[in-house]
């Protein structure tokens, strides 16, 4: 009979891992960078990241830039040709000389066609470059997530990690997808048009450039004001989303406790706040568009007026007037889009900063430079010997979790570790699994330091099974074969059979080929644990570490899991973080931990007979069983 003895939640990272985090409170007032979702990244890291992402694509980027320069040269020749047509073509044609007109017309056609072809080439080239950057970035985040320690994952939380690789990459994608082409085009066209205006008439060119000053000020003030409003709006929508999600995920209690009306009014409040801020940002955008359009139109009127005055005065050619009018309109055409690019740029750079912070983290566990191999294991020998040699563990921030200790686990021995939350049980287990490296001392597996083992070799030696039996999308068979993806089907089934999972798997709609995420593939908590034990059996490690689930199943379920666990532990060196009396009773040896120290050590029967903590714990366990 079994009973859960600790009052912890499997989904929450064990608080004992963060003695420096100041208890379970998420008060956010501390200087912990994790709470503020800002990881320390060296200044300039975002730009450095961007550069390193662009480096492999630099040929494409250079090619795209050259293509753009030619394309814009071709397209911006248009109004100039109109000017020539009016100023030279018309008088010549009046005199019966069609030469200049034909030249201009042919040039116009050629530049038009060329700009079309070039724009295609430009988009294609830049598109490949940008998508290459995104693919590279996604890959880097993915591999970084795999490489970082569990401790990091616990503190960073899965939600943040996922939003780094989804919504933050998406923000950058939006900028690269639509923004970069437009931005480059706008910048090049500004340079060309200004140059052409200066070439046609210095005065007109300078006048046009003068209008850039108010436009620049407008852009700057918009960025500043919109930045603040966007942040406030995104905070507001986030609270709306949280409320929405909370209601949907707790729909049963919402209904059972008749929360509908109270929720309505609370949601209305949050939603109205978002509505207000949303309207505010739209108005901010409107303000920018109106003021910039106003500047553009005033500039246009001024330039036309001035040049018309000069043409009337005989100081300027008529064609130049026409060309100037066309150019100025072209120049200010993309202003509206410019505001959108600014928005995209603002959110992309915020995302890039967060991603750079994540990528700047160095994985704490280094792969060995010269990996060693584990000694051959005689076929009959059960497990491998584990030695903790003068091991001490402290967090880098200073908190000591495990003071120096020695511990030897004989090959084939099952050791149960018990103790209160925060006693250091899971740190001990994580050192053995090499999720952490000891601050001092060595952890040896058959005499080989864990740090000298390459990852695949290490996982052939030691496997850790954690409380939550996570199933990946895919078939049940694939999930069992996780530790040995190339295992033939017979071995997968044999492992499931030995664990006692075969019957329920066969009863699923497609047996072993049932997709666990599809309808009908629903697998209960107890069954998940069985699948996860089958995984271990198939992976066949010499040492297995088991973090027992605290939440209880019904009694037949518990028995099935208990039986499966005993199968897994057989003929292996095993360390079990035990929460159940029945588990402790099958162990060869019990370690009682308190405050990071091993305070009792011995076979269960011996400890029970004594008067120590384990004896007290054991009698409480016994009493709870009816």
């Amino acid at each position: 009979m079994t009973t859960a003895v600790t009052d912890t939640d499997a989904r929450r990272p064990d608080p004992e891992e963060h003695p420096d985090a100041g208890g379970p409170a998420r008060d956010g007032s501390g200087g912990d960078p994790f709470d503020r979702d800002q990881l320390p990244a060296p200044p300039g890291a975002p730009m450095q990241l961007l550069r390193s992402l662009l480096r492999p694509e630099r040929r494409l980027v250079v090619l795209a830039s050259v293509l753009l320069l030619f394309q814009q040269a071709a397209i911006q020749a248009g109004p100039l040709l109109v000017a020539i047509a009016i100023d030279s073509g018309v008088p010549a044609a009046t005199d019966g000389d069609y030469g200049p007109l034909i030249t201009v017309a042919v040039l116009y056609g050629v530049t038009g066609a060329a700009s079309g072809v070039l724009v295609y080439a430009f988009y294609r080239t830049l598109g490949r470059a940008c998508q290459g950057v995104l693919r590279d970035l996604r890959g880097r985040i993915y591999h970084q997530a795999q490489a970082l320690s569990l401790d990091f994952h616990d503190r960073y939380t899965s939600g943040r990690m996922i939003s780094r690789s989804t919504s933050d990459v998406m923000a950058l994608r939006e900028l690269l997808d639509e923004g970069v082409q437009t931005l480059m085009t706008v910048l090049v066209s500004i340079v060309y048009i200004t140059g052409l205006l200066l070439y046609m008439d210095v005065g007109l060119g300078v006048a046009t450039m003068a209008s850039f000053v108010p436009l620049y000020l407008l852009v700057r003030s918009y960025r500043r004001r919109a930045g603040v409003m966007f942040t406030r709006r995104s905070t507001a929508i986030a609270t709306v989303i949280v409320k929405f999600n909370e209601t949907l995920n707790g729909i049963r209690p919402v209904k059972a406790f008749r929360r509908e009306r109270a929720n309505d009014s609370r949601f209305d409040e949050l939603n109205s706040e978002h509505c207000r801020l949303n309207g505010g940002t739209i108005l901010e955008m409107a303000r920018f568009v109106v003021l910039s359009r106003l500047t553009a139109n005033v500039t246009l009127a001024a330039i036309v007026m001035w040049s018309a005055y000069r043409v009337a005065d005989g100081d300027l050619e008529l064609g130049v007037l026409a060309a100037a009018a066309l150019y100025v309109r072209r120049l200010y055409d993309p202003i509206d889009r410019f505001a959108m690019i600014l928005n995209a740029y603002a959110s992309a750079s915020a995302s890039l900063t967060k991603i750079a912070g994540l990528l700047a983290q160095r994985p704490e566990l280094a792969e060995p430079a010269q990996p060693k191999e584990l000694p051959e294991r005689p076929a009959a020998a059960p497990g491998r010997e584990v030695v903790f040699d003068e091991v001490r563990f402290a967090y880098r921030t200073g908190g000591e979790v495990l003071p120096t200790f020695d511990l030897t686990l004989a090959a084939g021995q099952t050791t149960a570790v018990v103790g209160a939350t925060g006693a250091g049980k899971s740190t001990l287990a994580k050192l053995l699994a090499r999720f952490y490296d000891p601050t001092e001392g060595r952890v040896l597996l058959d005499g080989v330091d864990l740090r000298d083992l390459a990852n695949p070799e290490l996982r052939r030696g030691v496997v850790m099974v954690t409380q939550e039996a996570f199933l990946f999308s895919g078939t049940v068979a694939e999930n069992i074969a996780l530790g040995r993806p190339d295992a033939p089907r017979e071995e997968v089934e044999a492992a499931a059979r030995a664990i006692g999972a075969h019957e329920f798997i066969e009863a699923l709609p497609d047996g072993y080929d049932t997709d666990v995420r599809k309808r009908g593939g629903r697998i209960s908590a107890g069954q998940r644990q069985l699948v996860s034990f089958a995984r271990v059996l198939l992976a066949d490690p010499a040492v297995v570490i088991l973090d027992e689930a605290t939440s209880s199943l019904d009694i037949p379920g518990e028995r099935a899991v208990q039986h499966a666990m005993e199968t897994v532990l057989r003929d292996r060196t095993a360390m079990v973080i035990a929460h159940r009396l029945s588990t402790v009773e099958v162990a060869d040896r019990v370690l009682v931990m308190d405050g990071g120290r091993i305070v009792e050590d011995g076979p269960p029967a011996e400890l029970i007979a004594g008067t120590g903590r384990f004896a007290a714990l054991h009698s409480a366990w016994r009493e709870s069983l009816v």
Partner: protein, 628 residues
Amino acid sequence: MSATDPIAQDSPARKRSVVRSLLRLWPYVRPVRARFFTAAGVAVLASCLSLVLPMILRWIVDGPVAERDLTGVWIGGLVLLGVGVLEALLFGLRRWLVARPLAGVEASMRNALYRHTQRLPVAFHDRWSSGQLLSRATGDLQELRMFLAFPLTFLVVNISTIIVGCAIMLSLSWQLALIVMSPFVPLLWVCVSFEKQYSVAARRAQDQMGDLTTVTEESVLGIRVIKGFGRHRSQARVFRALSSELYGTEVLKARMLGWILAVIIALPELVLGVVLVVGVLQVASGALSVGTLVAFTAIALALRWPVESIGFILAMCNEAATASDRFFEVMDTEPPPESAGAAALAATAPRAPAPGAAEEELAEGTGEGGLRLNAVGFRYPDAPADAAPVLHGIDLHVRAGETMALVGATGSGKTTLTALIPRLHEATEGTITLDGQDIADLTRAEVRALVAVAFEEPTLFSASVRENVLMGAVDGTADDEEFRRALRVAQATEFVDALPLGGDTEVGEQGMSLSGGQRQRLALARAVVGRPRFLVLDDPLSALDVHTEARVEAALREVLVGTTALVVAHRPSTVMLADRVALLSGGRVTAVGTHAELMGTSTEYRHLMSGEERDPGTGPEREEVSVR
């Protein structure tokens, strides 16, 4: 994920209904219709003003400039300035008119969606993931606001601009006008067909993105397993493959975009070249003024965007129609009728029986006290017709003041049965009575006021501990003494007092995170606060440690005296709270009796309570199978 979204994109039936889908938005737009239509009118006016600018240019060139009339230049310039300023102000006016109202439309639709989903049955929520509903409340509604702000207005604006522009050009020179207009139809056709192809590619990219996201999420959520077993190579392989696929689709999209831009840029330029030749010849022969030629090129330039954008605008309309369908897909799901009995009564009598009235009737006692289930059956509405019902022919009587434990193997329907009593699910057969009153004759709110529930998964909301607990009281309020009593029963006093702000500490998603056991104790306090007459507890002590469990049980025993309670139990210690036990097996109640009686008579019960094998040979795993 997006790949499995219920709405199919390009079925022929959908195309016909785009307009109808969009018209359904009218009730939400109606309150702001005056501003909305004014804004559209302003936009048409502003857009037409931009066509007037070239005409002024023409007048300046042909008039004052040609005649060297300097005052005329001034006047022309000032008119140009005035029109320019007016155009900018009108654009601003349009945006100002609709900014707040359209944000309001979005908000009112979100509010309506939220209210509606709260009132849809639990069965609906079992079918729909919160992600699907959330994407409707955020992405789709934003898209609909954008649709009202831009594509809808600009469809009208651009078409009228094209018509006005063509009219002006025709009046200036019909030959040149025809040349300028010649590429309009092919351009329009190219743009519209491009948008169709492009949206297919965009949809594919979105799906591939969704698949990639799934892999990423799993690799993060399952990081402990991955670390425990070494790197998950097949997962990394899948990631690489999906990542390359996405890259391919995105590059294809970029190429398509480049192609359409090439056409959009080159075609009008070529036509403009022809206009230039013909125009210059006409100017040379004196048939056309220079100013008209300048105006022509300017107008042709001004009309390019309206023509090019039609394809893009139609695509946005199409997407908005999809968003609208997705929104109304939820809104069209009817909340279940309150109750057949209440509806019938409401037709004859002015009001369904009030809870007070019901209570009086109950107090007299009709001999039917307590909780009674009569031939109750349940099957999920979306279950296949040949599937066995989850519950069938359940007859159970929990006497007034009695505590009944409900025991059964995984998948036997215990949780479903408990959901029927507060009418989270509606029994599909039979009747359930509370002290003789059929719950189908009461409104849901009345039933839920009578019955307090604690669920297996203890959910706390983002609110203070006090608010979370007092939710269980009839009108959400109770005095402090009652709050403290509920905490005491659940053995939660100690840890609640240790919280930074005690009972006023915020908990839930936005507040402090509590352990599973602490949450379970608060959920229990919520159920017992306000001394409910009926109590339904679904394995309320599963996450508690041994000592706390014993203390909670002792306190709970006192509460259960005088309360009619149904308690789902997995362990003998929980069963001990009950006067009698009902054994649920395969959707039926197979035995009722005291614990001792059932231990003696039922092998299945013995198996569940002690783990004793029922018959050698079949493993205990058999009961574990739950395929739903």
